[in-house]
C-alpha cells in the first residue's frame, strides 16, 4: 500500500517537474543560438518528445512491418514479392479484399445517408435531444457487446422450431423465413448483415456531426429562399445540401477508415467463415494463428497502401478548408 502511495506522489509531482525541467532545459540550450533563429527552433524542440514517441511507436514498427513483408515466415530470409504473390493468388485473401470494398462503400453510404436523414428529421421535432441520445447510444457500446446483441437478433433455428432470434421471430409472424442471416453467402447477405451492425453503431456519430453543421447554417439564408417561393425540397437541394457537403465528406472519410479497420464484429460474429473475412481478420489469422509474420505483414502493407490515398485526400480537404477561413 505504501509503495503505491509513493508511486502516486512521484507521478503527480514528478511528471510536471520533468516537463518544466524540459522547457527550462530547451531555453538554456537556445541561449547558444542567435536571437533570430530562436523562434524557428523553439517549436521543434517542444515537439521533439512527441515526435520521438511517434517515431518509436508508429514509424519504427511501420518500417519494420514493410521490411517483414519481404521476408519469410520468421523473418530469417528475404523472399522478394512472394508474400504479395500469395495475397493476390489466394481466394481467401481476394474474398477478404472484396468484402472490405463492400464494407467501404456500403458502411459509408449507410452512415452518411442515415445520419443525414436523422439529423434533418430530428431538427424539426421538439424532443430532439431525447431522439438524438437514443440514436447516439450504440456508439458507446463496445464492438464485441454489440456483436453479441446482434447474434441474438440474427439467431436461427430450423423451420418448425421456436424462433428465438428477434428478426426471425418477427418475420415468422407473417409466415416467412426463417432466414439464416449470417450463413447466406448469396449476394454477400451475411457480409451485409455484419455491415448493418456497424451502421447501427456509427449512425449516431454521423448524425451528431451533421446535425451540428445543420445548426451552423444561417437561418436568414433559408428564410430568404422561402420568401422567394422555394419549396422545402428546393431549399434542401439548393442551400442546405451544398453547405453540408464538407461535413459529409469528413463523416465519409472517417467511415472509410472505420470500414478498412473492421475487425471485432467479424471476429465475434462469424469468425470470418463463409466468406465474411475482411483484411484485418486475415492479418490477425496469419499472425497469431498461423504464426506467419511475413504474410501477416504483407496483408498489413496492402491495408496501409489502401489507406494512404484517403489520408492524403483528407489532409488536402483540411488544408482547403483552412485556406477558406
Amino acid at each position: 500500500m505504501e509503495e503505491r502511495i509513493i508511486t502516486a506522489i512521484v507521478a503527480v509531482v514528478g511528471v510536471p517537474l520533468v516537463l518544466v525541467a524540459y522547457i527550462w532545459g530547451t531555453e538554456q540550450l537556445l541561449r547558444v543560438f542567435p536571437d533570430g533563429a530562436k523562434p524557428r527552433l523553439r517549436p521543434w524542440l517542444w515537439m521533439l518528445p512527441a515526435l520521438g514517441f511517434l517515431g518509436l511507436f508508429l514509424v519504427y514498427p511501420m518500417i519494420g512491418t514493410i521490411i517483414a513483408s519481404f521476408q519469410n515466415t520468421l523473418g530469417t530470409a528475404w523472399v522478394g514479392l512472394e508474400n504479395f504473390a500469395w495475397f493476390f493468388g489466394s481466394p481467401d485473401a481476394l474474398s477478404a479484399l472484396k468484402n472490405n470494398v463492400l464494407w467501404l462503400i456500403f458502411l459509408t453510404l449507410f452512415v452518411v445517408g442515415f445520419g443525414l436523414i436523422v439529423a434533418i428529421l430530428v431538427d424539426r421535432v421538439r424532443y430532439e435531444t431525447a431522439a438524438k441520445s437514443v440514436i447516439f447510444l450504440p456508439l458507446a457500446i463496445s464492438m464485441v457487446a454489440a456483436s453479441v446483441i446482434w447474434l441474438y437478433m440474427y439467431q436461427y433455428k430450423p423451420p418448425g422450431a421456436v424462433q428465438t432470434g428477434t428478426l426471425n421471430a418477427v418475420i415468422g409472424v407473417s409466415g416467412a423465413g426463417p432466414i439464416p442471416w449470417l450463413q447466406v453467402q448469396d449476394f454477400s447477405l451475411n457480409t451485409f448483415a455484419l455491415i448493418i451492425v456497424m451502421t447501427w453503431m456509427w449512425t449516431g456519430f454521423g448524425m451528431v456531426i451533421i446535425s451540428a453543421a445543420l445548426k451552423g447554417i444561417n437561418p436568414e439564408l433559408l428564410e430568404a429562399a422561402r420568401v422567394d417561393g422555394a419549396n422545402e425540397w428546393q431549399v434542401f437541394r439548393g442551400i442546405v445540401f451544398p453547405l453540408l457537403v464538407p461535413t459529409l465528406v469528413v463523416v465519409g472519410t472517417t467511415m472509410i477508415i472505420t470500414a478498412l479497420k473492421a475487425f471485432d464484429i467479424v471476429y465475434a460474429m462469424t469468425g470470418g467463415n463463409l466468406e465474411t473475412d475482411v483484411i484485418a481478420n486475415l492479418m490477425y489469422k496469419q499472425m497469431f494463428r498461423v504464426g506467419d509474420f511475413g504474410r501477416a505483414s504483407a496483408v498489413a502493407v496492402v491495408l496501409l497502401v489502401a489507406i494512404v490515398p484517403i489520408m492524403f485526400f483528407n489532409i488536402g480537404r483540411f488544408r482547403a478548408q483552412e485556406a477558406v477561413r
Binding site: K157, P180, L274, V290
Partner: protein, 436 residues
C-alpha cells in the same frame, strides 16, 4: 527485426502480459529441503500462471482439481481460460511472453515449441517411472519427443462416440456392428424423431472443428490408422479417393441432419445434442466426444437412462477396434519451483480423480477410476485399453492446414462448397502448408 514483434505482440495481448509478468520472475529461494513429493514444499505466496481451453464448468473442475495443491503448498494458481490458445501461444513463442503452464493444442505444436526452446523437458520434474507405469503407453508416447517427455495429459477424451436417447431405443442391446447397420437400426427406430442426426459445428473462432472430428472418425474406420496418420502428415493428398469417400459419407450425414447443414453451421457444438432430449426428439443420433456429458443439456439428464453411447462403428471389420482420442496436453514454459510442483501434482491419480469424479472428463491414468457412472468408466477403459490408438488428426496438422480444414468444413456443411471444391481448396493449402 525481432524487436518489432516484441513491441507488437505484447500490445495485442496486454492481459496475458500482465498476468505472465508478475509470475515469470523465477524465485531463487528453492529451499535446500525441497522434496520431490508434491505437498512437501512450502511455496507460500508463490504464483503459477496457467492458461487452458477450459471455461465455465470445465474451468470450475480444473480449479477444484488444483485446490488441494494450493492448500498443501500455500501457492496460488492464476488460471485463464480461452479458446484462442493457439493464437496466444503462437504469439508468445517469438516474444517470450508465456504462462508458466499451458494447455498445448496438440503434439505437432508441442514439437514446434520444444524445438524453439520455449517448452521445458519434464523428465527431471516428474517421477517418470510412476508416470509411465500408470499411464497407457499410447498416451505417454504422444507427449514425448525422441524419448524425452515434454507434455502430459491431465485429462483425456474418447472421440467418435455416437450418443442416443435410450427412452427411444436402446442401441446397447445389439450394438451396431457396422456403419450400415447403425444407419439401418436408426432408421427403423426413428419414430417421431425429425431427423437421423444432430449436428452443430459453430464454435466461435474455431468453428468447424466438430466436422473435422467427423471426417477423422469416418476415415479412421474406413481406411484405417495407417492412412489416417499419413493423411495428417501430408503424405496422403486430400484428393485421394480414401479422403473423398470419407467426405462423401459426411455429406450424407449433413443431408440427414436436424435442420440441415444451415442449422448445423448456426448451432453451437455444445448445444447441438439438446434436440435428443426434446419431445418429440429432433434426432436419433449425435456424434461427439466423451466430454459432451459435461456440456449443454447433458448434465441435467441421467447417464444410462436418458443418454448412452456406442463406439463409432466400423466400415471395415479390420479397423473396428481403432479409437481416436484427444486430450489436454499440458506443458511447462517456466521451470519455477511452484510450476514444477504443480506439474508433479497434476499427473497423479489423486489429482486426476477429482476431475474424473466431477464428470465430463476421462483420465489416461489407470489408477484414476472414480467415474460417476458406468458409461464414463467404460469410456475410461477404452483409453487405457485401446489397441489402435490415434490422436486427433487436425490438431496435429500444421496450423495453417488445421485452420483451412475448419474453414472449409463450415463451407461444405453450409452447402456453399461441394466435396470436390472443398478438397481441391484444401489440397492447395496443403501444397503450401506442408512445404514450410
Amino acid at each position: 527485426m525481432r524487436s518489432t514483434y516484441r513491441f507488437l505482440a505484447p500490445l495485442m495481448m496486454l492481459g496475458l502480459l500482465l498476468a505472465a509478468c508478475t509470475a515469470s520472475s523465477p524465485s531463487e529461494t528453492e529451499g535446500p529441503g525441497a522434496s520431490v513429493e508434491p505437498g512437501g514444499e512450502d511455496l507460500t505466496g508463490q504464483e503459477v500462471t496457467v492458461i487452458g481451453t477450459w471455461t465455465d464448468a470445465e474451468q470450475e473442475s480444473f480449479l477444484a482439481m488444483v485446490a488441494p495443491w494450493e492448500e498443501l503448498t500455500g501457492a496460488t494458481v492464476k488460471y485463464q481460460g480461452t479458446r484462442a490458445i493457439n493464437d496466444i501461444l503462437a504469439a508468445g513463442i517469438p516474444t517470450g511472453v508465456l504462462p508458466d503452464l499451458a494447455g498445448l493444442p496438440g503434439p505437432g505444436q508441442m514439437a514446434e515449441y520444444a524445438a524453439a526452446g520455449a517448452l521445458k523437458p519434464l523428465d527431471d520434474v516428474l517421477d517418470v517411472g510412476t508416470y509411465v507405469s500408470e499411464t497407457s503407453p499410447g498416451i505417454v508416447e504422444l507427449g514425448q519427443i525422441d524419448g524425452t517427455t515434454y507434455g502430459v495429459f491431465i485429462k483425456a477424451a474418447v472421440k467418435g462416440l455416437i450418443w442416443f436417447n435410450p427412452n427411444l431405443h436402446d442401441y446397447t442391446d445389439s450394438p451396431p456392428a457396422t456403419w450400415d447397420d447403425l444407419i439401418a437400426q436408426g432408421e427403423d427406430n426413428q419414430g417421431d424423431a425429425e431427423a437421423l442426426w444432430c449436428l452443430g459445428i459453430e464454435s466461435g473462432d474455431a468453428s468447424g472443428w466438430p466436422a473435422t472430428d467427423w471426417i477423422e472418425e469416418i476415415l479412421l474406420h474406413q481406411a484405417g490408422p495407417d492412412v489416417y496418420n499419413q493423411w495428417w502428415q501430408g503424405e496422403v493428398p486430400w484428393t485421394d479417393p480414401a479422403i473423398q469417400t470419407a467426405f462423401e459419407t459426411y455429406a450424407d450425414v449433413v443431408e440427414n441432419a436436424y435442420g440441415g447443414g444451415t442449422n448445423a453451421v448456426a448451432t453451437k457444438f455444445d448445444l447441438a445434442g439438446d434436440p435428443l432430449f426434446a419431445d418429440p426428439s429432433g434426432c436419433v443420433f449425435f456424434h461427439q466426444a466423451s466430454f459432451i456429458t459435461g456440456l449443454g443439456a447433458f448434465p441435467d439428464q441421467t447417464a444410462g437412462t436418458d443418454y448412452n453411447a456406442v463406439p463409432f462403428p466400423a466400415f471395415n471389420d479390420e479397423f473396428a477396434t481403432a479409437v481416436e482420442g484427444a486430450g489436454d496436453l499440458f506443458g511447462m514454459f517456466h521451470d519455477t519451483p511452484a510450476a514444477k510442483s504443480l506439474m508433479r501434482y497434476l499427473v497423479t491419480a489423486e489429482a486426476q480423480d477429482i476431475w474424473v469424479a466431477r464428470g465430463g472428463a476421462l483420465s489416461a491414468n489407470a489408477n484414476a477410476t472414480s467415474y460417476p457412472d458406468d458409461i464414463s468408466a467404460t469410456m475410461g477403459g477404452m483409453i487405457t485399453n485401446a489397441e489402435q490408438f490415434v490422436f486427433d488428426a487436425s490438431d496435429q496438422m500444421p496450423t495453417a492446414m488445421n485452420a483451412a480444414f475448419w474453414q472449409h468444413m463450415v463451407s461444405l456443411t453450409a452447402g456453399t462448397e461441394t466435396v470436390e471444391e472443398a478438397l481441391a481448396a484444401l489440397q492447395a493449402v496443403a501444397d503450401d502448408a506442408y512445404a514450410e
